[in-house]
Symmetry: C2
Subunit: 352 residues, 2 copies
């Protein structure tokens, strides 16, 4: 599936991002705050690979962030710039990946509203991801309607770009299934396969834990290392990192499972054989936390120093970031608008 | 409140429809079928008056019709043309009223999706109009999400045009209250009164009954007289019209309450004094149904003949109707897009 099979607007983009023949991948981030090492391990670095082989669209998901942050729009607004900085700092290339802003793409809202007619309230309420997230947020009965409806909005995001591949965490897979259900209903109603189904791309590695080892890394849990962390913040985070509370002396045998330092080494150390050797040594006894933490600190300092430097340089020119987003929006408007027209046309809505 | 207080795009319209200083009225019809005499009595003829004194927007509400007709899009599509013909046939002047198509106005979907974050699922479920309509349609648990959400979409319609006056039936008044609730939340969040509240304009006369006298007139009840009715259809409808089943002979006293012929005379006979005299005579006894029905048939033939003739002439040139809708869409896009920009800006969303 390509973006441009029937699109006349695909002539407009002048760089390789919309080159024909590549599979389309849609991903992005809810605009609720700057990104951290958990995002880097779980998705950002995959995007660097994907942009070489796919038509990749990165959605700065401010509209979706509003579904549970309507009371703090300043946070959502500021996060858009922070996340765009993070993207560029880690090496996302706007000539290869289209970075675009959800609230600036009317076709996404138009398709969302359309799709809401093809899914029942009961089906939305049964969605396991939504059920979990409603519970996690403590909404009770006061669920914002936009939050309940966001699976339809996500289906709009995916289909508007004609994405066939959507990188998501395992807990988000039901949302892709929901999107495909809507696709099948739209195609059945239209009588032609106007939209492609999408596949979830679930990373082999699990989520990176936070430094406290209690939950996955997240800003709201206060256990995250942001991509913009200073050398001191990195060092402090590594020092505070949860290991094995029973491993009181270096000579004692230690546990690897649940040990955050090893989880980080698994995620970031390029020398897997050495990490395996260190694990074995740690479990046997005789390997202290201090040595491991020094290794990890070196690794993270080396990983984040160039990202932090690029991020700081980019942050000095917000006009450039805005221009990157504007160009992405322009490209994304052409593609999503085309899909909107094709879907409305295939369904047989009145065309004046 | 005017459409153009802060709008730069208001320079574009070249006719009086967007003339500054007039209050804005939004009305329209769900695109589910051609209009009938019930619409004429309850709303269409009021619009002829309103277009002389107000900035009037008439929404061909195809998107809203999809919320409970996603399985019959052809009906919705065809109804758009039929209703536009009805509007022009009764005397709506596209130079005075803006006739526009809901699905062609992306800002309505954008505002709808935004507003869904400012209303809870519980609040939507409590809406008396929605509760009644869910019952009437027998949706049970299988309510399309779009149907539950349509009060937010209606708030988008009203506010996008900055309408301060919305003609609705008494049963629809809760929807205006729901819209105003959303307006207050948006304004409170923005910290500025970016949107005006609207007032329901509820017609003094109740709804016109169907010819069977059992329900209000509606196509689905099979008790309607369409605006395009032929002379024979009008005559047959008047003959079949429910009067007083106890009024077997002209000499008997008859009942006026629930008598459809009198309801129609109340609605359409310009000589109210004569209708009052006829009622009194009927109740006293000595006035037969045949005489009343002849009077009503004459009235309706006289009312509908020119509408039918204009409608038939207009129907021969669908290209003209499409052009009228296109012009209305263009005008409405400028105004609704401006409101969308103002709302997103006032709320402080990221502007690239």
């Amino acid at each position: 599936m390509t973006t441009c099979a029937t699109s006349t607007s695909c002539a407009a983009p002048t760089n390789s991002a919309a080159s024909a023949g590549r599979p389309v991948v849609l991903t992005g981030d809810r605009a609720t705050g700057p990104l951290h090492l958990g995002h880097y391990a779980g998705s950002l670095r995959n995007r660097l690979a994907l942009q070489e082989t796919h038509d990749q669209y990165l959605l700065l998901a401010d509209s979706q962030a509003l579904t549970d942050n309507a009371g703090d729009i300043a946070k959502v607004r500021d996060a858009v710039m922070e996340i765009a900085l993070d993207y560029l700092a880690v090496g996302v290339d706007p000539a290869k990946s289209t970075i675009c802003l959800q609230s600036q793409l009317p076709a996404l809202a138009e398709l969302s509203m359309l799709y809401l007619n093809f899914v029942t309230v009961a089906r939305l309420e049964r969605n396991p991801t939504i059920k979990d997230e409603i519970r996690a947020r403590g909404f009770g009965r006061d669920i914002p309607a936009g939050f309940l409806c966001y699976p339809a909005a996500q289906a709009a995001d995916i289909t508007a770009f004609r994405a066939t591949l959507v990188p998501v965490g395992a807990d988000q897979a039901p949302l892709i299934e929901q999107s495909n259900e809507i696709v099948r209903r739209i195609n059945a109603t239209a009588g032609v396969p106007v939209l492609p189904e999408a596949e979830a791309l679930i990373p082999a590695a699990g989520r990176l834990p936070g430094i406290d080892g209690r939950n996955k890394m997240s800003k709201s849990s206060g256990n995250a290392i942001p991509l913009s962390a200073t050398p001191e913040q990195i060092a402090a985070a590594v020092r505070a990192m949860f290991t094995d509370p029973q491993h009181l002396r270096a000579a004692d045998p230690g546990r690897v499972e649940g040990n955050v330092v090893f989880a980080f080494l698994d995620a970031f150390d390029p020398d897997a054989a050495e990490v395996a050797r260190l694990k074995e040594h740690y479990q046997r006894g005789g390997l202290g936390d201090a040595l491991l933490k020094r290794r990890l600190d070196d690794l993270l300092q080396g990983l984040l120093a160039p990202i932090r430097a690029r991020r700081a340089a980019l942050a000095r020119d917000p006009g450039h970031i805005r221009a990157v987003i504007r160009q992405g929006v322009q490209r994304a408007r052409a593609i999503t608008g085309q899909t909107r027209d094709e879907v409305f046309g295939a369904l047989g809505l009145f065309q004046p």
